[in-house]
C-alpha cells in the first residue's frame, strides 16, 4: 500500500520548464483495481468509470432498437428479429444498470456537496456510497466496452517492436536508438521482461539501422500496438554547427508475439508448410566446410507466398537465429492477415472509415520546446525527458488508448 501511496504522490510533480503541473505517472489499471478494493478512500479517476459520450450514445441507440424489437415481437414472431433481440439483451441490461447508477451518482454528488454543519455526517456517507457506485460503474463500463468493441484478437499477447530510421540520415538513426531506449526504459519501469533480439548500430555507431525488442509481458501488444507508425523528432543534431533544428523520423512496427520467447522452441517453424519458407544462410563465398572457421551465424527466411523477408544474426547459435526469425515471420504474417481482415470487414460496411492502425506521423518529439505531441489525439505533454526515460510514457499511452477507443466507436457496428 505504501508503494501505491508513493506512486500517487508522484502523480503531481512540477514540470521541468513550465510552472504548471503535469501528470507524470499513472499506475496501471490493475494497481487501481487493487487500490480501491482494499482502500476505498482513494478516489477513482474519472476515466475509470465514465463511459465516453460516443459509447453512451451508441448504447442508447441500441437500447432504442431493442425496445422497438420488443414491441414488434409482441405483435408477431420473427426469427431474425428474435435473434437480434437476444444478441442485444446483455448489452441493454448493462447499459440500463449503468444509467441507473449514473443517475444515483448525480443525486449523491448533490448531497456530498452540502456544506452546512448538519449535513456533515450525511456527506461522509454519501462520499462512501459514491465510491461504491463508481466501482460498480467501472465494472459495467468495462463490460459495455467489451460488448461494443470486441477486444483485439491478439490483445493478450506479448509483443515484438521493430525500430528503423526513416528520413534524416544519421540523426534519424540516433533518434531510432533513442526511441528503442525509451521503450526499454518503459518496460523497466513497468517491470516487464524484455530482450533485445537484434541491434544493428549504424555506420558510425551513433545510432541504429535496425533494432528489435521482444516484450514478454502478456497484454503488452494491446498496450503498445498504437505505437506502430512514424515518429518524428525536431531538434538540433549534435553534429549541426549552425544550430538549426532538423526534422527526422523513425518507424516502429508493433507485432503480436505468438510464440514464446524461448528461442529453443520450434513452435513457430512448425506452423509453416514444407516449401512455404526458403531458408538461406548468408555466408561469404568460398570453399567453406573444414577450410574455414566462421562465427557468422546469420539466417534469412523468405516467405514465398508473400515475399516477406526476415534476417537474424545476433546470436552465436545458427538455430537460435533461425528460431527467432521464424517467430518474427509468424508475427508479421499474423498482423498482416489481421489488418487485411479488418480492412475488408470495414469496406464491407462503409467506404468512409478512419483506421486506427499505422497513421503516418503519429507523434512529434520536439526538443527545443520540451514537448511531445501525439497528432492523433492532439495531446501534448511538456515533459520530454520524462517521456524518453519511460516514466511519463504511460500518460501518453492512456490518451492514445482513449483516442483509439473513440475511433473504434465511430466505426462501430454491433454484431
Amino acid at each position: 500500500m505504501q508503494a501505491i501511496r508513493r506512486s500517487m504522490a508522484r502523480l503531481l510533480v512540477p514540470a521541468r520548464s513550465r510552472n504548471h503541473y503535469v501528470v507524470r505517472h499513472v499506475p496501471s489499471r490493475f494497481s487501481f483495481m487493487r487500490m480501491y478494493s482494499t482502500e476505498p478512500a482513494e478516489s477513482i479517476p474519472d476515466d475509470e468509470y465514465i463511459l465516453s459520450p460516443e459509447l453512451r450514445a451508441k448504447a442508447e441507440s441500441l437500447k432504442a432498437e431493442y425496445d422497438q424489437l420488443t414491441a414488434s415481437l409482441a405483435e408477431a414472431y420473427d426469427n431474425a428479429k428474435m435473434r437480434q433481440h437476444a444478441k442485444l439483451e446483455a448489452l441493454v441490461n448493462y447499459a440500463t444498470a449503468y444509467e441507473r447508477s449514473s443517475a444515483e451518482l448525480a443525486d449523491l454528488e448533490e448531497l456530498a456537496s452540502a456544506t452546512d454543519k448538519d449535513s456533515l455526517q450525511l456527506r461522509d456517507e454519501a462520499l462512501g456510497e459514491m465510491q461504491e457506485i463508481k466501482v460498480s460503474m467501472a465494472g459495467l463500463k468495462e463490460k459495455i466496452q467489451r460488448l461494443l468493441i470486441p477486444p483485439h484478437p491478439f490483445a493478450d499477447y506479448p509483443c515484438i517492436m521493430e525500430f528503423r530510421p526513416g528520413v534524416g540520415g544519421s540523426e534519424a538513426a540516433i533518434f531510432t536508438k533513442n526511441l528503442m531506449e525509451m521503450y526499454q526504459n518503459y518496460c523497466q519501469n513497468m517491470r516487464w521482461k524484455f530482450s533485445v533480439l537484434e541491434y544493428h548500430p549504424s555506420g558510425d555507431g551513433s545510432g541504429i539501422t535496425e533494432g528489435i525488442l521482444a516484450i514478454e509481458e502478456p497484454g503488452a501488444y494491446d498496450r503498445l500496438r498504437f505505437e506502430g507508425g512514424v515518429h518524428r523528432v525536431q531538434r538540433i543534431p549534435e553534429t549541426e554547427s549552425k544550430g538549426r533544428v532538423h526534422t527526422s523520423t523513425a518507424a516502429i512496427v508493433v507485432l503480436p508475439q505468438l510464440d514464446q520467447g524461448d528461442e529453443n522452441s520450434n513452435e513457430a517453424e512448425r506452423s509453416f508448410a514444407p516449401g512455404e519458407v526458403r531458408v538461406d544462410v548468408m555466408r561469404a563465398r568460398g570453399a567453406g566446410g573444414q577450410h574455414v572457421n566462421t562465427t557468422d551465424s546469420a539466417v534469412r527466411l523468405t516467405h514465398i507466398p508473400t515475399g516477406i523477408v526476415v534476417a537474424m544474426q545476433d546470436q552465436r547459435s545458427q538455430h537460435k537465429n533461425k528460431a527467432r526469425a521464424y517467430m518474427i515471420l509468424r508475427a508479421r504474417l499474423a498482423e498482416k492477415e489481421h489488418n487485411e481482415k479488418v480492412i475488408k470487414d470495414r469496406q464491407a460496411r462503409t467506404s468512409q472509415v478512419t483506421t486506427t492502425d499505422r497513421s503516418d506521423k503519429l507523434r512529434t518529439y520536439n526538443y527545443p520546446q520540451n514537448r511531445v505531441t501525439d497528432h492523433r489525439c492532439g495531446f501534448t505533454m511538456h515533459d520530454l525527458p520524462g517521456c524518453m526515460d519511460g516514466s511519463a510514457l504511460d500518460t501518453l499511452l492512456d490518451k492514445v488508448q482513449e483516442w483509439a477507443t473513440n475511433e473504434e466507436v465511430k466505426n462501430l457496428q454491433f454484431q
Binding site: H200, P201, G203, D204, G205, N264, N266, V279, D280, V281, R283, R285, A287, G288, G289, Q290, H291, V292, N293, T294, T295, D296, S297, Q313, D314, Q315, R316, S317, Q318, H319, K320
Partner: protein
C-alpha cells in the same frame, strides 16, 4: 587489404577494443558482434571484478583480432544443434555451421520419417547410430539431442583416433547431459578407423553411419585461397587432411555393420565424384539389384555440394525420404 582509416576512426571512438578486432574481422558489423559476445562472456566470467573483465576482454580481442585466433577457442565453446553447447579446445576441430545444418536435417528427418520412430506399434529393435571421426562429439550429440525428442531407444557411438578429441567428446557428453533424454545412450571410443581393432569395437549392426572425416586435400590445405590461415595455424592437421580413402573405409565399415544409410560431409562436387568412382565396387550404385545403394549429394546453405547421402535400395521403405534432401544425382 588495408582497412579504411574512416572505419578505424569510428571503431576507436566507439570502444578501445573494437580496433583490435578489425584486422581479422574487417568490417564494423562483424567486429561489433564479436565484441558483444566477448564482452558478455568475460563479464559473466569475471563476476563482480570489473577490472579483471576489462583485462580479459582486451586480451581476447587482441588474440582474436590481431592473431586471428578462433573465437570458439577463446570463449571455449560453440553452440550447436538446438541447444547444445560444444566445448572447444586447441587440438580438436571446431564444429562448423555446415555440419550443424546437415546434421539437423538428417537427424530431424529420421525422427519424422523413419518407421522405427513413426510407426505406432512398438517395433522391438533399437535405433543405432555410428559417428566416425567424431572429434568434439558434436554430431553424435546433435543426433542424441534430436532423437531424444522421441521415445525410441537409441544408441549412438562416436569414434575418434585422437586422445584430445576422445577426452573432449566425453567432456561434451557430460556438459550436455541435461539436453539428452533417457531414451538415448551415447558413448565414445578411441580407435583408428583403419585398424582391425575397429571390427572388434563395433560388433553389432547399426542403422546409419554418419561422419565428417578429414577431407581437405594436401594441395588445398597449402593454398591460402582454399584454407584460411587461422585454420591452418590453430586447428589440428589430423582433423583436416584426408580424402577418398576415408570414404572408402567408411562405406566398408557401413557394409560390414549392415548399415542401411550413410551420410558424410565432403569438400565439394569434385570430391563427390571422386568418392563415387572409388566406392562403386562397394556400393554398386550403378546397378539396379537389391543389394546396391542409392546415392546422391546435398548442397549446404551457401550452395556448395557438402554431403554424400546413400541408402540401400532394399531399405527404401525406411530411408527413401532421404531422397528429398538430395539435390545432386551422380
Amino acid at each position: 587489404m588495408r582497412i579504411p582509416p574512416a572505419i578505424k576512426l569510428i571503431a576507436r571512438k566507439e570502444s578501445p577494443f573494437l580496433p583490435l578486432l578489425l584486422p581479422t574481422l574487417r568490417d564494423l558489423d562483424s567486429a561489433r558482434r564479436e565484441l558483444r559476445w566477448i564482452t558478455e562472456h568475460f563479464t559473466e566470467k569475471a563476476g563482480s571484478s570489473r577490472k579483471d573483465a576489462g583485462l580479459m576482454i582486451r586480451r581476447a580481442c587482441y588474440l582474436r583480432g590481431v592473431k586471428s585466433y578462433p573465437l570458439q577457442y577463446i570463449l571455449g565453446s560453440q553452440p550447436f544443434g538446438e541447444s547444445l553447447d560444444i566445448k572447444c579446445r586447441r587440438g580438436v576441430l571446431i564444429p562448423r555451421w555446415e555440419t550443424d545444418e546437415w546434421g539437423m536435417k538428417v537427424a530431424s528427418g529420421i525422427r519424422r520419417y523413419h518407421p522405427l520412430f513413426t510407426e505406432s506399434k512398438q517395433l522391438s529393435s533399437d535405433f543405432t547410430v555410428l559417428d566416425l571421426c567424431t572429434g568434439s562429439g558434436c554430431l553424435a550429440l546433435l543426433f542424441a539431442e534430436q532423437l531424444g525428442h522421441s521415445n525410441k531407444k537409441c544408441h549412438i557411438t562416436g569414434i575418434d583416433v585422437s586422445d584430445k578429441a576422445y577426452a573432449l567428446a566425453n567432456e561434451n557428453l557430460y556438459a550436455n547431459k541435461h539436453v539428452i533424454k533417457d531414451n538415448v545412450s551415447v558413448s565414445f571410443a578411441q580407435c583408428d578407423i583403419f585398424s582391425t581393432e575397429m571390427n572388434r569395437l563395433v560388433d553389432s549392426d547399426v542403422d546409419i553411419v554418419i561422419s565428417n572425416p578429414p577431407y581437405v586435400s594436401e594441395d588445398n590445405y597449402n593454398s591460402a585461397a582454399h584454407t584460411e590461415s587461422s585454420v591452418r595455424k590453430y586447428e589440428p592437421r589430423l582433423a583436416l587432411i584426408g580424402g577418398v580413402e576415408f570414404y572408402k573405409r567408411i562405406f566398408e565399415i557401413a557394409t560390414l555393420r549392415h548399415a542401411k544409410a550413410v551420410v558424410c560431409e565432403l569438400a565439394d562436387e569434385q570430391q563427390f565424384n571422386d568418392i563415387l568412382a572409388a566406392t562403386d565396387g562397394i556400393l554398386n550404385h550403378q546397378q539396379q539389384h537389391k543389394s546396391s545403394w542409392n546415392v546422391g549429394a546435398m548442397h549446404d546453405g551457401a550452395g556448395v555440394v557438402r554431403t554424400i547421402i546413400a541408402w540401400r535400395r532394399d531399405a527404401d521403405k525406411e530411408w527413401g525420404w532421404l531422397r528429398n534432401l538430395v539435390n545432386i544425382l551422380p
